[in-house]
């Protein structure tokens, strides 16, 4: 499973990185991210998760080749 982060999340994580296949759902992925960088807690709390370009909720079951985007609040325009 690969993760890509955007915008200010790049100050906390690499732009793209591999996460362990044992992570079962978005909730456990989120915990994994906080273990990597506890300082990201507040920023992460306002983010949404997307798999294959669709938003998913916190109990989405991760699959082996999922490409996960972590989406901060939009600020386009």
């Amino acid at each position: 499973m690969e993760v890509e982060v955007f915008a200010l999340l790049k100050d906390y994580f690499d732009k793209k990185f591999i996460v362990p296949a044992r992570l079962s759902d978005i909730e456990s992925l989120k915990q994994h991210l906080l273990d990597l960088n506890p300082a990201a807690e507040q920023v992460l709390s306002s983010c949404r998760f997307a798999v294959e370009d669709e938003f998913v909720d916190h109990n989405y079951q991760l699959k082996e080749n999922d490409y996960i985007c972590i989406i901060p609040p939009s600020s386009g325009g």
Binding site: A7, A50, D53, E54, Y67, I71, S74, S75, G76, G77
Partner: protein, 171 residues
């Protein structure tokens, strides 16, 4: 990179997301329609200041494939809701200079009320919902990522954007 398992229709990303200067003139020229008496164009330009500091330039980042699909979906929804003849939107990514356009929305419809309303609906949703992020680079060397919208301060509801409240009030 991403396989296409999306429920949204496939779209040409470059129609909605562009790393080149937006061609407002060309888009406007293409947006006249014999049935549509009212054409409204919105351009979101980069201002030369924000938070009291001089802006050197902006940089926009997007999850482009996702943003393009979402913009296409927003346009489709607006077209149906207001019976638009034309609905066009394009957002810039990468470095954008002061005075340049970062986003353009064009709507055309037989009557002007609908053209204005639909246009504003589209830009509001793009700004609030589509995965595009602004980073301001100031002349003093600092930078700032665009944060959450402050709609909740205005609406009093953390899940309500300002345009949702305005819509309810107007109708």
């Amino acid at each position: 990179m991403t396989t296409s398992v999306s429920s949204l229709p496939a779209v040409e990303v470059s129609t909605y997301i562009s790393d080149q200067p937006l061609d407002l003139v060309g888009l406007l020229a293409g947006a006249h329609h014999p049935l549509a008496g009212a054409v409204v164009l919105f351009s979101g330009d980069v201002r030369d200041n924000n938070l009291g500091k001089q802006v050197a330039y902006l940089e926009y980042e997007a999850r482009a494939t996702m943003a393009a699909k979402m913009i296409a979906e927003i346009l489709d929804e607006a077209k149906r809701k207001w019976n638009l003849n034309i609905a066009v939107a394009q957002h810039r990514v990468g470095k954008v200079a002061v005075g340049e356009s970062a986003v353009v929305v064009i709507t055309a419809t037989p009557h002007r009320r609908e053209a204005y309303e639909a246009n504003r609906y589209i830009i509001d949703r793009i700004k609030h919902e589509v995965p595009i992020w602004k980073c301001e680079f100031f002349t003093d060397g600092t930078k700032k990522w665009g944060g959450n919208c402050n709609c909740h301060e205005l609406t009093g509801d953390p899940h309500k954007h300002i345009y949702e409240v305005e819509k309810e009030t107007n109708q």
